[in-house]
């Protein structure tokens, strides 16, 4: 059966219940926030880069299971990655949930990409990744980018 409930697989809910890298990073090189005025959800992302790599990435915020799970998966996807590859991963996930096509995505991200069929909820999933992109931009502007 396909329906809204497909979105709430255990893969997604596990992240929602126990999100990875939730916290705040004082003095981080990169920081960005995003909000959804429709539901009042908001997310903040902090990153520290070193030698062209994402050394630390954390998020904090207030949101639904989908945005929390998505933020948690985002930190898994970005931590320890070269910045270029982190940007590619963000791009690939955003394309999967807006345009479709989950080939090559990690299984948990593919599960979350079911949100594509619920247009009113897509923003919940994309918001943390867009904030991460802005935080990377912020870090690179601060000089933590590829050396």
């Amino acid at each position: 059966m396909t329906g809204p409930a497909d979105l709430y697989s255990e893969l997604v809910l596990e992240h929602a219940r126990r999100p990875h890298r939730r916290g705040r990073l004082a003095g981080a090189e990169g920081h960005a926030d995003a909000a959804n005025p429709l539901c009042g959800d908001r997310v903040e992302v902090w990153v520290n880069a070193e030698d062209g790599m994402v050394k630390e990435v954390v998020f904090d915020g207030e949101g639904c299971a989908i945005s929390t799970a998505s933020a948690s998966m985002m930190t898994d996807a970005l931590a320890g990655q070269p910045i270029g590859s982190a940007r590619d991963r963000i791009d690939r996930f955003l394309r999967a949930v807006t345009e479709g096509g989950v080939e090559g995505l990690p299984e948990e991200q593919a599960a979350l990409a079911h949100v594509r069929r619920l247009p009113m909820r897509v923003k919940c999933a994309t918001m943390p990744w867009r904030a991460a992109l802005a935080a990377l931009d912020d870090a690179e502007a601060a000089g933590g980018g590829p050396s």
Partner: protein, 415 residues
């Protein structure tokens, strides 16, 4: 044929069951029976309303108030007949006290931008904290432009207006008091009669937002004692994009024109304009005639079924839902437990309203999640969002049970 005949009441209305009169409710959603509980946002339409709109387009459609041909006369008669129907429905003294417009949002903008034009520094407009943005932002904006002060009145513990506080806030400086008859998040029935009396004693104009009330209870503007009362068609079984505002003749006479253009004038020369009296003065442009016809059909439907019977049935279903929800672990139901309209806002520990609403949709249950266009109230409740289930004439006790069961299942999934 002139105006469409009043549709005959459906047979066998002994035990009220109007669900079959709403074609949209026959469908299944996500494989389940549709349980539509987003009525405070918009209600579904009975066959008689859909038919009235279709019949207007098939038989009577023409320019209103302008044409001398047969169809034009019929269309004009349909609109003016509808004005009489709405006037009687609200208890107005005259059909001329009824202005048709798009809905309550437009009504509040009309009132704010006409009554508000004479505001100045030192003047105050009073609005409760629990209002829909539609009855907040027009006043706020007008106060900002005129240098007047908007005062948000606090709420009592249960979310109703804090009347002692209101009594101290409404003073000689108060020019306008605007308040919802029924609030859209928690279904609180405000003591509008007392509020209007307070306004009157202070010499202020009283405005009542009836968007959430007109579908649940009989409205009598004389008993309420308000100067203005606004209703929204799409929340009372009528089409979208149509509403009406009652205003006392003397109050309309004090209001300057707002949107101007065709229909609003008596005489225009190259260097002078003489504006018409209400309602024409405030109905610029060609009216939404089909919507107006649909609004009158909805009023006839409500009166045919009987608002009291509808209220009885809705309250029974809502009471059942309220009780069932409150018995679920970690669920908080907001608002007064007694005497409210069938609108229930709740939240659940460990479950975000949007997740709840999406999972409920999977069971065919349509509810609303969010701040419901009342952010100051959400702040007051201390929650970013709530889930809202709101009942209408066609909702049953089974619908209430489907809601409670669905929430229970959703919570099991999420927690």
């Amino acid at each position: 044929m002139t105006a469409p005949p009043t549709p005959a009441p459906a047979a066998g209305r002994g035990a009220l069951d109007v669900r079959a009169e709403f074609p949209i409710l026959a469908q299944r959603v996500n494989g389940a029976r549709l349980v539509y509980l987003d009525n405070a946002a918009t209600t579904q339409k009975p066959r008689s309303v859909i038919d009235a709109v279709r019949r207007f387009y098939e038989e009577d459609n023409a320019p209103v108030h302008r044409a001398v041909h047969t169809l034009g006369e019929r269309a004009t008669a349909a609109v003016e007949g509808a004005r009489r129907v709405v006037a009687r429905f609200l208890g107005a003294e005259s059909p001329d006290e009824i202005v048709f417009l798009r809905g309550v949002t437009e009504a509040m903008n009309l009132l704010a931008f006409t009554l508000g034009e004479s505001l100045g520094p030192g003047d105050e407009v009073v609005v409760p904290l629990s209002e829909h943005h539609s009855n907040l932002l027009p006043w706020r904006e007008m106060c900002r432009r005129r240098g007047a002060t908007l005062r948000l009145t606090p709420l009592a513990q249960d979310g109703s207006i804090d009347m002692p506080a209101l009594e101290s806030i409404v003073t000689g400086r108060t020019r306008i008091v605007s308040v919802a008859h029924v609030t859209n998040v928690m279904g609180v029935v405000n003591p509008v009669r007392e509020v209007c009396a307070l306004a009157r004693r202070a010499g202020a104009v009283s405005v009542v937002d009836g968007a959430q009330a007109a579908c649940h209870m009989p409205i009598d503007v004389q008993a309420i004692g308000c100067d203005f009362y606004a209703i929204s068609g799409h929340k009372m079984y009528a089409p979208t994009g149509i509403g009406a505002v009652f205003g006392r003749r003397a109050r309309w006479a004090q209001a300057p024109p707002w949107q101007t253009g065709g229909s609003t004038v008596e005489r225009v020369s190259t260097d002078d304009v003489r504006y018409a009296e209400a309602p024409a003065r405030f109905e610029a442009g060609s009216p939404n005639a089909a919507g107006i016809v649909g609004l009158a059909a909805a009023v006839r439907w409500l009166e045919g079924v009987g608002i009291d019977r509808i209220a009885e049935r809705e309250s029974a279903a809502a009471a059942r839902a309220r009780e069932g929800l409150a018995s679920l672990p970690g669920v908080r139901v907001f608002g007064p437990s007694e005497g409210s309209a069938p609108v229930i806002a709740f939240d659940a520990a460990g479950a975000h309203p949007h997740d709840l609403a999406t999972l409920l949709d999977g069971f065919g249950v349509a509810v609303r999640a969010g701040h419901h266009c009342a952010q100051p109230l959400a702040d007051w409740l201390g929650v970013p969002a709530t889930t809202r289930a709101s009942f209408a004439a066609y909702n049953t006790v089974e619908d209430a049970d489907a809601l409670v069961e669905g929430v229970g299942r959703a919570l099991e999934t999420l927690r």
